[in-house]
Symmetry: C2
Subunit: 392 residues, 2 copies
């Protein structure tokens, strides 16, 4: 049932593009006073940790989930933070995720490792894989690890930032449940298949790309539908495979278009990038791939996800000295370009997140949408833990 | 002078998207009988080799250029083949390319190497770098090499195919002269910055992605201009930085939009990918980068190009056994999707090239456009070599 499936998806997936434009889905939907649901980062992490511990996940792993999800909210990627908490808990309840599984190395060379995530939490698999890649990069210049048997791993940039914090370049990708129609296809066959690259500049400057290979995510379409407004051509298809501007039809069809939109505007490149991610993840690791991956569900899946993920760390010191100087110079060059709208300066990937983090620091906490707060209240009741506490 | 610069560019750059749609620029422009300028692959290579040898390039390097350029034409990427021959010869004449330079390793670890191309021919630098990456991948699982001091290296897939032919996954990227406007910018600051990934399947099947990170290339805009037809929104900007549908204005402005087009349709993702390529190439290698790279010229540049390039080889055998089986299965799954137009089946990256190569094999040669033939005649005269010979 595409409609029911999509309604569930919309609880989970929000527009990745909102990161950049600043029109965050949850914030746009927010009612009433902006700061009424302000939660400190420490308290938000406490709450998430308690939820996972109540779901019989050991403390170390529960803390890892808390750090991952609240980092997403802190960076302004609300779609991938607390918003997904219930889904993870449901997957643990359904036993399709094993909260205490240990990743296992199946094969290893000086620069590579193949890992079985053993259906553990995505962040446990991901941290293990990226840390191993970092270790290898520090030894031989590059570390390249691939995991099968993984689960949703949150924001891809969580892992690439981990490498960047060690002075390395981090790259990560994951396959996801089918939602994107390859160019010319009437059906979805690939996921939003995100990729991230993080690279360090000077004095805290950086380049942090974290993007889905689809044009937009379902949340953006739902927003237009609620407003009774059309969607731009190139976001989604109708059941015959043609681009549609009808938000309701797009929502019911559930076929996102790849980055680039139609064939005429080079959507096949976005499709190609989606396959690139699948090759590096599912095909390389031997996990599920493409339309063999289970459908999205918020209620707790009956099937295991068995996602494939890729983690790469590269030491820029192996190449030309002065990497961070040049990165900072490139960022300055780009940010200094003349803008077509004086109110909208040219940005570098990662700049909108920096703005959001500064806002959280200034206000003292993360502002959650009222619906998110309600979900947290139900979860606290269900798991018998201390409810989320607010600053004011 | 943007117009003059663009006219020169248009001799060089053709729509990369044409690869996929099959509407190749030169062939569309062709007049008269389709097969009247048929040249065997062997003869085309002989001609290119002779040109370079006449320009004082030693035989081995001249042969490498011939193999590179004619492979592009064989695959149907006419923009990057014989079409660029004169430009390379002009750069040699102007001494901004050293046809006999030897690439030099500046730093090396088991998985990486930093190379100085010493302003040699792009293919000489590229072959050296990819072969070194392949060697390293066979030893430690991954080889990652970066070159500064390079020149135009032809089709990016030349290098990734080289890795694929050894059973490896190949990845390559290069920075290029500024031609793309970052999202919100009125000015171009990045090149078309292409990337390629090639991965082997079974029985000659493969996934070969080779794409610019811009929506389209200038050649596509010139085609619409000649036909007095508008261009789709999302291809190019006007001088104020807004998207334009006026082909002439777009042509004169010379600001291509990144893959994804406008900000609303996620053009900032294509912009982010363009920066990703620049980080992996110019920033990593210490070459020129972004708008510091010289402008395009067909006449022979007075400045050195000093391009940065990246070459990666990964051994899939380090990960899950059966990589090529799964790749073939994925390709079959994608090709078998229901198409929205029965005359346009769903393709996999590399399929249009396979169709073109089969056509060349069937007809016995590559069919060159009459203008290309004229350029070759002039070159033969200028360099005092045997003119290009035709099959019939």
């Amino acid at each position: 049932m595409p409609l029911q499936r999509l309604i569930r998806q919309c609880h989970i997936i929000l527009a990745s593009t909102a990161k950049y434009t600043g029109t965050n889905f949850l914030r746009v939907m927010s009612q009433g006073k902006m700061d009424e649901n302000l939660v400190s980062v420490t308290e938000a992490k406490r709450f998430v940790r308690d939820c996972f511990q109540a779901a019989k996940v050991r403390e170390e792993n529960a803390q890892a989930m808390a750090d991952l999800l609240i980092e997403a909210d802190y960076r302004g990627h609300f779609s991938h933070g607390m918003n997904r908490l219930e889904m993870y808990i449901n997957d643990l309840d359904m036993k399709t995720t094993d909260g205490n599984a240990e990743p296992k190395i199946l094969n290893e060379t000086p620069a590579t490792a193949w890992i079985d995530g053993q259906h553990g939490l995505g962040v446990v698999v991901g941290n293990f894989c990226m840390d191993l890649a970092i270790k290898k990069a520090k030894t031989v210049g590059v570390g390249w690890t691939c995991a099968k048997g993984s689960n949703h791993y949150g924001i891809a940039s969580w892992y690439t930032l981990r490498a960047m914090q060690q002075g390395l370049i981090g790259i990560s990708m994951t396959n996801t449940s089918p939602l994107m129609s390859p160019t010319r296809s009437k059906e979805a066959a690939l996921g939003t298949n995100p990729l991230s690259l993080a690279a360090p500049g000077n004095h805290g400057d950086s380049f942090v790309l974290d993007m889905a290979t689809t044009a937009v995510a379902v949340g953006k379409i739902e927003m237009q539908r609620r407003k009774n407004e059309p969607i731009p051509k190139g976001w989604a298809q109708d059941p015959s495979g043609k681009p549609t501007t009808d938000a309701s039809l797009a929502f019911d069809t559930g076929c996102l278009m790849p980055l680039g939109g139609e064939e005429l505007t080079s959507g096949y490149k976005g499709y190609g990038l989606g396959v690139l991610v699948e090759v590096m993840c599912g095909i390389m690791s031997g996990s599920n791939y493409a339309s063999n991956i289970r459908k999205w569900t918020h209620a707790g899946a009956e099937e295991i996800a068995n996602l494939g993920q890729c983690f790469i760390a590269v030491d820029p010191n192996c190449f030309a000295p002065g990497f961070s100087d040049r990165l900072t110079d490139l960022n300055d060059l780009l940010r200094g370009l003349p803008s077509s709208d004086p109110d909208k300066p040219v940005l570098v990937a990662g700049d909108p997140e920096k703005t959001h983090m500064a806002k959280v620091e200034k206000s003292g906490g993360i502002n959650y949408h009222v619906n998110q707060v309600k979900t947290c209240m139900s979860l606290a009741e269900r798991l018998k833990i201390t409810p989320l506490q607010f600053i004011k």
